[in-house]
Subunit: 467 residues, 2 copies
Amino acid sequence: MPPLGAPARAEARATLSRHAHELLVSEELGALLEELRPFEESHDRESFEASVVRVARRDYEKATRIPPRLRAELTRQASLGYRTWLEAREANDYAIFLPQLERALELVHEQVACFDPPGDPYDVLLDDYEPGMKTAEVEAVFDRLKAELVPMLASVTGPVDDSCLRGTFPPDAQRRFALQMLAEWGMDADSWRLDDTVHPFASSFAPTDIRLTARFHEQDLHGVLSCMHEFGHGLYERQVDPAYTRTPLAHGVSSAFHESQSRMWENLVGRNLATWRHFYPRLQEAFPALGSVPLETFHRALNKVERTLRRVDADEVTYCLHIILRFELERDLLSGAVTPRDLPEAFDAKMREYLDLQPPTPVDGVLQDVHWSEILFGYFPTYALGNVVSVQLWQRAEADLGDLDAQFESGEFAPLREWLREHVHRWGRVFEPTELLERAAGGPLDPEPYLAYLRRKLESLYGAAVR
Amino acid sequence: MPPLGAPARAEARATLSRHAHELLVSEELGALLEELRPFEESHDRESFEASVVRVARRDYEKATRIPPRLRAELTRQASLGYRTWLEAREANDYAIFLPQLERALELVHEQVACFDPPGDPYDVLLDDYEPGMKTAEVEAVFDRLKAELVPMLASVTGPVDDSCLRGTFPPDAQRRFALQMLAEWGMDADSWRLDDTVHPFASSFAPTDIRLTARFHEQDLHGVLSCMHEFGHGLYERQVDPAYTRTPLAHGVSSAFHESQSRMWENLVGRNLATWRHFYPRLQEAFPALGSVPLETFHRALNKVERTLRRVDADEVTYCLHIILRFELERDLLSGAVTPRDLPEAFDAKMREYLDLQPPTPVDGVLQDVHWSEILFGYFPTYALGNVVSVQLWQRAEADLGDLDAQFESGEFAPLREWLREHVHRWGRVFEPTELLERAAGGPLDPEPYLAYLRRKLESLYGAAVR
């Protein structure tokens, strides 16, 4: 987009979101949903018929709290804020972004006031990404994670040599390898695409139209790992029951569940030694420089634990700390304990406390993420919850399917994929996240499996007992 | 898009077009427009206030003829038809496309029936692209063009050597040159972009967001000419009065007027010897192989007249014949004189008659254009009308500005650009095309200036008297 297109786009998006919101909150829809109550009650709760009415009513009732004017204003500000964030990052100057964050926070307060929440005001924000989840539950999980992860990180000693991941890896060869790998995992050419982008993401317009994007840098293999991550998002949408297409049921149920899928394919499958026993010979063929690198060295490098300034560069141990920091700051911004003006200082203080790092400039610290510019308050926690959920699901899948490592080693990824379809993906939004987790993983949200998984992994990689 | 995404996109587009149509034909809007009659009448006809109400009412009244269901069905079929056309072209098999064309034609008949036109049913289709224009006017212009162009083409003798346009022209150097040229013509980096595509087009989302696309082939310079064409479209949208933004006035008034602008910059400016007196040294610098090619040779090559199978490859003389052929076939399809089943044969017969060429396969003939697959019946004539209008405007601009060639030769393109802004662009949709033409060019639609321009050009290029 040319620079002067930004205000026009903000207006266009605001108009579209207002019209979409007006359709959603129309009295006509409300009356139809009332009329359908007996129909809904005459069907099983998990049936398509009952679920589509139930979920549409939930969406309707929630949407009616927000006036179309505010919906449009949130969209407009998100669009303008994003553009200003780009400028602020370019100039590495938080002051450029500050007025936008102040305006965004005003709108967030307006949004929260629409619900007049009986409990924590942050519940309102969280509910947009994790329906039904309460801030107190997140806080309990995060307190436990923080209590374990900070000392766990301190106990990691001895450098890991990851030099094999740096070198010269022609982007076309990376793309070919990634496509081969994802094809074996279940990416079919009729319904998926992989294209280039600056910041990778997955999007889908139908279960038969899944678009992944990637960025392959010649000097490292991060692009391949990012493909595995986006595949997880894509697979979720691909495997929603096709009968739900074009209904409110037709998507993944929450951000944490979505992230559990991307993290599972990136980390639990993609950073798994067994997976690479299968794929590493082909990777070596694609990149002859890896020919002399033993599999175990490559695998250790993939799993290197290291404090980083940037959330997006974080490993499995430090990632949650980056998130907890943001969750706490969002709550402080909402309560007024931290003002937008004081945010950079508060950000840096927590970076020092949790990660023992001082961001040298705003771009390495408070300006590094797009989320606050786009008013995505409440989104960050779902990244860490996704890690937690991924291992809860994994445990149950292993209990059902037997030794997944043995399967991966012989190139069998279909059992895991089909287990996910059966227990998670196909249900779309039929169950709320808590119920889906109970059904699929057999329990409530629980950080212990994730912590135990990290401990095992660190012990095997660093050979030392990890707290 | 992955192949299985096509049906989903067709449904999504149909839904969007139905909602947009429902907003446009709402009783609320109708009542507001009635309420605004006194307001409209209290302002000058050319004022923003009166014009925005008048044009909105015209759009509203026309839209109310079409039921939202039909609007959605036209959109859905256009989307599906396009996809099938791609397949038919790939297979070079008209039979694959035939059922889609039959369905499209059914919908076109439904559309025409909504208006129950007193005159020619084709008027209904034409009006979507050329508001107020009647088929009989087009027919009169086209009969005159055909009567002149067929013998004019026959009188062109002697081959033109255009080998200098073929060779090795690195795409990046073509892009750099095109951007330099368009910057001199008025493309500013804050409001315009130029990106890559398969089939070039121009689009705009606001007067400050103009996007051109191009495809540069290493073996020829067509991509540069195509940039000049798309620039004409972009400039029109760029120069609409910014006060009209986000109103029904905020776009070019018709397809023929739009095409008059793209043709003017591509042909009257871009294939002009004076323009190249200014730019050729830089082109030679960019492509050293042209260093030994005299300017006049290059200019003759750019203006080579030659019968071609493909409309998009046609020169200024043959282009209108390709269009007239399509206009006549569209009318025959609408009247039933030609059935979709017989279309390939009818297409080839007219190709032989007007251009003395027999398309060897459907892809070179009836399947070459996207328009019928997307139900754009009524669009084709505006391409030829654009040629006609471009020279009518040019004559008037020269009368006002003096010797344009002399200006171009010294790199002055601003006077023409500003003349177009003042007399055409800034008005957006304030005047209907006929009135705008009368005001800007001083007369009604008239093919004679275009024919005279072609005769002069052919005489200078081929050195012989051309009928």
